[in-house]
């Protein structure tokens, strides 16, 4: 990176070269594959540097800044952090129950966010690969390639995402990084014009979502044998559910199952999450490994996100999405009712959620509470607040402690990608074990690893590149820790040793 520098004769033109710490990290996903004595892949380690220092950054700031401050922690789902922090802060100001208007506005905002995030992931990042195949020409592997061959589909994806973004814009005043949630409520409601503006596209959004669900399930079922085994692992799951066990993205109790599908906890009050989830630290990465306390570190890891949510909920409250959930859970060759463990099924589950969001947005838009002006509740200040929501990528925890002067003294965040940490490692290991031939890494293997990581839609900067272009560095180590081979792929999809 270089910046303008001042000099006497030419004040605005000289350049100063600065090493930007962000460029240094370069958003590469780094994977280490460790072999055992018999050259089998024993362990895969995904090295993630993204989530360092969150908590330090927040300490010392007044709590009411948090919903805006945390939006900047991660550029990928700012609204999710905004809302999780907003919920935690409601507790800090002693508010348990928002007004109906504020509650519904936040839900609307959240549906908009999940919809646009899922649309981005499926149409822009994942579907080119799913449609053209993992080995297709690089030039096809982006939305432009998709536009050429599937013009209707790609346009629907673009419009769907735009619709989600417009929902966000109407609720917060800005498409990204708006305000909205304030302590105890919201700072604005919708005007009739804003509501009508969204209403005019909502039926289209539902139709496009329905087409998306069909596409995702068609792709999955077209080669079910492959899709159900690729990067497939057996894991527990966790998500919020509503009081009736329904799919719930904004507020509910925690439900967790073990890898056999048995309940570990249900309708658990997330304010006591520390009793059921601990985080393990490992020496080779900054990212922690959360696990269910009752199952212990080795067996207690779990997955979150669309797959977890669709697996765990008993029902979806909107009819079309419920139908789609039923088809998902009862797909041919799958034991009815059991959790779907296939990692590639994340994509299908994601599209079911898009449909649920679109349907829910429509229901909300017809609710007069969205136009109401009773937006804020006040209460007695508390020194601790915990907010949890189902972000697009999974359960997101924000936990804050403040002092008497309103300053944050402690913060703990568990982001969805951290919850999926162990599962991503396991999926990568599974793929490597299946496709690694001998002691040489191949471009094909790199692609498969990328597909496995991408299924989780991790909030990593490397994962924001189009498929096939995830900057990725894979190292193969023997049982003694000696480097056998290394391959690096840059964001142009070029592979070198």
């Amino acid at each position: 990176m270089s910046t303008e520098q001042q000099s006497a004769s030419n004040p605005e033109q000289l350049r100063r070269v600065v090493i930007d710490p962000v460029t240094r990290v370069e958003g590469h996903g780094k994977v280490t594959l460790l072999l055992d004595e018999d050259n089998h892949v024993k362990q895969a380690r995904l090295h993630i540097v993204e989530f360092r220092g969150f908590e330090r950054f927040i300490q010392g700031r007044p709590y009411w800044e948090l919903p805006l401050l945390v939006q900047r922690l991660c550029g990928i789902c700012p609204v999710s952090h905004h809302l999780a922090a907003g919920k935690a802060i409601d507790q800090l100001v002693g508010v348990d129950q928002l007004t109906p208007s504020a509650d519904k506005l936040r839900r609307l905002l959240h549906f908009g966010q999940v919809l646009q995030s899922h649309a981005l992931h499926f149409y822009y990042l994942a579907s080119p690969d799913l449609l053209f195949g993992f080995d297709s020409a690089m030039s096809k592997r982006n939305i432009l390639g998709l536009l050429e061959d599937y013009p209707d589909l790609a346009l629907q994806g673009i419009k769907l995402r735009k619709f989600g973004q417009e929902v966000i814009r109407m609720v917060t005043g800005k498409r990204i990084h708006g305000s909205g949630a304030i302590p105890g409520g919201m700072n604005k409601s919708l005007t009739v014009e804003e509501r009508d503006y969204l209403l005019k596209d909502v039926d289209d959004a539902i139709n496009w979502s329905q087409a998306g669900v069909k596409l995702a399930s068609d792709i999955h079922l077209a080669d079910a044998a492959f899709n159900n085994t690729f990067a497939s692992i057996e894991s527990g799951f966790m998500s919020l559910v509503g009081s009736g066990g329904e799919l719930e993205l904004y507020h509910g109790g925690l439900r967790g199952t073990d890898r056999a599908g048995n309940s570990v906890f249900d309708h658990f009050d997330y304010r006591h999450y520390h009793d059921i989830i601990h985080e393990e630290v490992k020496p080779w990465t900054y990212m922690k490994f959360p696990f269910f306390v009752p199952l212990g570190m080795d067996d207690g890891w779990y997955r979150v996100g669309p797959l977890a949510r669709i697996n765990l909920c008993d029902v979806i409250t909107t009819p079309a999405a419920e139908q789609a959930r039923f088809a998902f859970k009862n797909q041919a060759g799958h034991e009815a009712g059991a959790a779907v463990q296939s990692s590639l099924a994340f994509h299908w589950a994601r599209m079911i959620e898009i449909l649920h969001c679109a349907e829910s947005i429509k229901t909300l838009l017809h609710d007069p509470d969205l136009l109401g002006n009773d937006l804020v509740v006040t209460g007695e200040k508390q020194l601790e607040g915990i907010g949890v929501i189902e972000a697009p990528r999974g359960t997101l925890f924000h936990h804050y402690e403040i002092n008497e002067d309103d300053i944050v003294v402690k913060a703990n965040l568990i982001v969805s990608t951290t919850s999926n940490n162990q599962a991503m490692n396991e999926s990568v290991r599974q793929v490597a074990a299946r496709y690694l031939d001998g002691q040489q890494l191949t471009e094909g293997l790199l692609n498969y690893i990328e597909v496995a990581i991408r299924a989780y839609d991790p909030c990593l900067s490397c994962a924001t590149h189009a498929l096939g272009k995830m900057p990725l560095q894979v190292e193969l180590l023997d049982a003694d820790g000696q480097l056998l081979h290394r391959l690096v792929k840059n964001s142009q999809g070029e592979v070198r040793e």
């Binding site: 001042q6 004040p11 600065v18 900047r72 917060t172 700072n187």
Partner: protein, 241 residues
């Protein structure tokens, strides 16, 4: 013959006896950028943003009296370029994270930055370590955002008759300090209704628990550029008085 008129960028305006150039200009609807100037207080002349060229010499428009026949250059690239540099220095000398700052959209420093088309900080950030004082139950002092305009110092002294604030240290080591036994706002006698609690043009002195009640996008400088917004305000002040 005395006409009590000056020209600013070629436009003739009249002034009243005893007015400074900035007062005459703002009253005539001409915007001269500034930060430490405030119509309620005696001019301070410290921020240098209002520097104009009067008959060929650089002067602060807030401290220079208007006098007959002055030829004033205000909006020209070299002056605006200096103003831009001064503003950039203010940004890098503090810790300004506008996106999460509750003053964003209502902030004069930020609005001036937009007005001057300041799209980068240009100078290396100094990332100073400055203390937040949150001890007062209703008022927050975030020194990270202080620009040393001394409006709070003047307001406390001249209007509130309290002398709560002062600037200590010199140059880059300057710091806004609180005159109280503990050195914090808690026992400073600052009251939430004091002028000093409300006069800060940036997000350094804030009333607690009001953040973001006005949505981003609906704030003062979201609606008007600083040259328009401030003129409207000055005109209102003038009509009111």
């Amino acid at each position: 013959m005395k006409t009590n008129s000056i020209s600013i960028d070629g436009q003739q305006i009249t002034f009243r006896e005893g007015q400074t150039i900035i007062q005459a200009a703002l009253e005539a609807g001409i915007y001269i950028p500034y930060l430490c100037y405030h119509p309620d207080f005696e001019a301070h002349g410290s921020c240098k943003v209002c520097t104009v060229r009067v008959n060929g010499s650089h002067c602060s428009a807030c401290t220079t009296f208007a006098s007959d026949g002055q030829v004033v250059d205000n909006h020209c690239e070299d002056l605006n370029s200096s103003r831009r540099a001064i503003t950039q220095m203010l940004f890098v000398e503090g810790n300004h994270l506008c996106p999460s700052c509750e003053k964003s959209g209502d902030c004069e420093l930020q609005a001036l930055g937009y007005y001057l088309k300041l799209f980068g900080s240009h100078f290396p950030h100094l990332f100073p370590h400055r203390e937040v004082d949150a001890t007062h139950p209703h008022i927050l002092l975030d020194r990270d955002r202080c620009i040393f305009c001394e409006l709070c110092v003047r307001a406390s002294r001249e209007v509130d008759q309290k002398n709560v604030f002062a600037i200590s240290g010199r140059g880059i080591d300057s710091e806004l300090v609180v005159n109280s036994p503990s050195g914090t706002l808690l026992d400073s006698g600052l009251d939430v209704n004091d002028k000093a609690a409300h006069v800060c043009p940036v997000g350094a002195i804030l009333i607690k628990n009001q953040a973001f009640q006005v949505p981003i996008g609906q704030r003062k400088y979201d609606k008007n550029r600083i040259d328009d917004a401030d003129l409207i305000e000055v005109k209102h002040d003038h009509i009111d008085s």
